[in-house]
Subunit: 319 residues, 2 copies
């Protein structure tokens, strides 16, 4: 069998100001792409919502104002240059953006990522399943997190055959949920691409703030190990419109080990030569699902959404 | 609401020789129990198969020989002393052992753990769901791991109301599977008790040996964080019958942080004052399942056991 190496670049971004144009952002993405190409990369992975500032931090009543943050076509007028550069350099990319589309005459809005191959063709699209935050304006918060208001959730986690392997995508909050990795693991995923925007401060649980980088790594490392897959985690980091965001972008091997990481909170690439066949020793032994999984004991995972809790949040005491 | 602290002791064991009697082992368990009591503990957690050497490392053709490692009643003649001491000291315990029982006239064998309250009553029983290893003799291995031969799998993960909270159990290999924690998390679990015997060397994948302690912690820490629960991991460590086992026993908070750990590979307690209400800040915010889980995207987790793989172990290339 041919060796299956994919040279992957993290395309970490620093903050994007509200006033920054798509053209300016695409120039930044292009600069990172050129660096990745100069370092021999096959693929560069950009963050979630990589074309604009993280707009769900603001409550906006005017849908027209909200829709300014969305892309109606991909590539569009502003992003065409990135596709053209990718084709010229023969490098693939993964890009997160806000997607506005019409389905059966109805406007739909998703938090989306696409995988683009070396011919600049979109080979896979993913729409974020686990939208965090809240749907109504909550003025007590230092800043809003209105993803549940501005987007609707995607329906599934898929994989694509690309770059010589089985590639999946997830976005931000998806990475905290083991179900995300497992559904792709059951499709043989060998590399999961995950962009994120994660504020250091979590208004409903500030007691977690000191742990945000630890949690970021913990969930991606366990997701990698427990499914025998590479995970590429890519941040938009730094202080954006006054709000500090974790960086912590890293590449995680199927062993769960971090093998590459960014060292700043700004625009930066980090890279690794990822051997997809390193997945096999996990998928064929300790996590050989066919031999060891016990789905008959897992029914509750799909049968119920949540846990019954008392009004004060304590668990229901069973008889 | 009353504070809900549970003072928990890890009751880590060093190796148990094949020649060691149950009486001798119970004396070791009792010594640890007395230490835990002297340190104000409510509960001591012992490892998997804590009454004998880890016998699945040997292929035995004679069922009568195998059955010598099993308990037919609990408490039995040899374990009665441990229950009596627990009642005297008013301390609970969790104990792993090989269980032989008759169900509808059929002999059943399980890898079992029980939770015993301060009145020495068994309040919960768990039978290991994820049996690792293999079912047939594989002489090429340095040692066998015949759990799939000597036990049948348990059917479910449950929780019990005990020690003022919602307590679950899992055993050894269960801890590597996120489904284990999730099924209990969906029942509001606040503390998961996990005993294990884990050889440093994994014959089918020796390339993982250097990472065995890292993996041990990674899976328990992520299981704790992703479900907002305490996890108590308890090893039988050290060189048992010539085979080296990891120790790495630790207590993990709902944040995923390790807050107590053993420092040796032998008989040792470590302890923590576990505030069950620390679970709430995770269960009510970032992992509020009712608000954030998306079970409609998880169907594959129960619909399929494994991943379709090619004969050489590579993933099936999809169209």
């Amino acid at each position: 069998m041919m060796p299956r190496f994919v040279n992957v670049a993290i395309g970490q971004l620093g903050p994007i100001a509200k006033s920054e144009t798509r053209t300016a952002v695409v120039a930044r993405l292009s600069a990172l792409m050129r660096q990745a190409h100069a370092n021999g990369c096959d693929l560069i992975v950009y963050p979630e919502l990589a074309l604009t500032t993280f707009f769900p931090r603001w409550y906006m009543a005017d849908q027209a104002e909200i829709d300014l943050y969305f892309e109606r076509e991909m590539p569009g007028r502003d992003t065409q240059a990135l596709f053209a550069l990718a084709k010229e350099l023969r490098i693939g990319f993964c890009l997160g953006y806000a997607e506005l589309t019409i389905e059966d005459g109805i406007v739909r809005r998703y938090n989306t990522a696409i995988l683009v191959d070396k011919d600049a063709r979109i080979v896979s699209k993913y729409r974020k399943v686990h939208l965090p935050g809240h749907a109504e304006h909550e003025p007590w918060r230092k800043f809003q997190h209105l993803e549940k208001r501005y987007f609707e959730p995607g329906k599934s986690f898929g994989v694509a055959n690309a770059f010589g392997g089985v590639i999946g995508m997830a976005i931000c909050n998806d990475r905290r949920w083991p179900e995300t990795y497992r559904v792709m693991g059951l499709q043989g995923v060998e590399m999961v691409l995950i962009g994120y925007n994660t504020p250091v401060h979590n208004p409903p649980a500030p007691e977690h703030d000191d742990l945000s980088l630890f949690h970021n790594r913990l969930v991606m490392q366990s997701g990698a190990y427990q499914n025998g897959t590479w995970v590429i985690g890519v941040a938009k980091g730094g202080i954006e419109e006054g709000i500090d965001h974790i960086a912590g972008s890293c590449i995680i091997a199927p062993s769960g080990e971090i093998v590459a990481a960014c060292a700043t909170k700004g625009d930066e690439i980090a890279l690794a030569r990822c051997d997809l066949d390193l997945c096999n020793s996990y998928k064929q032994t300790i996590f050989n699902f066919d031999v060891h999984r016990q789905p008959q004991a897992y029914g509750m995972i799909v049968e119920r959404k949540g846990t019954a809790l008392m009004a004060d949040g304590s668990p229901v005491q069973k008889e």
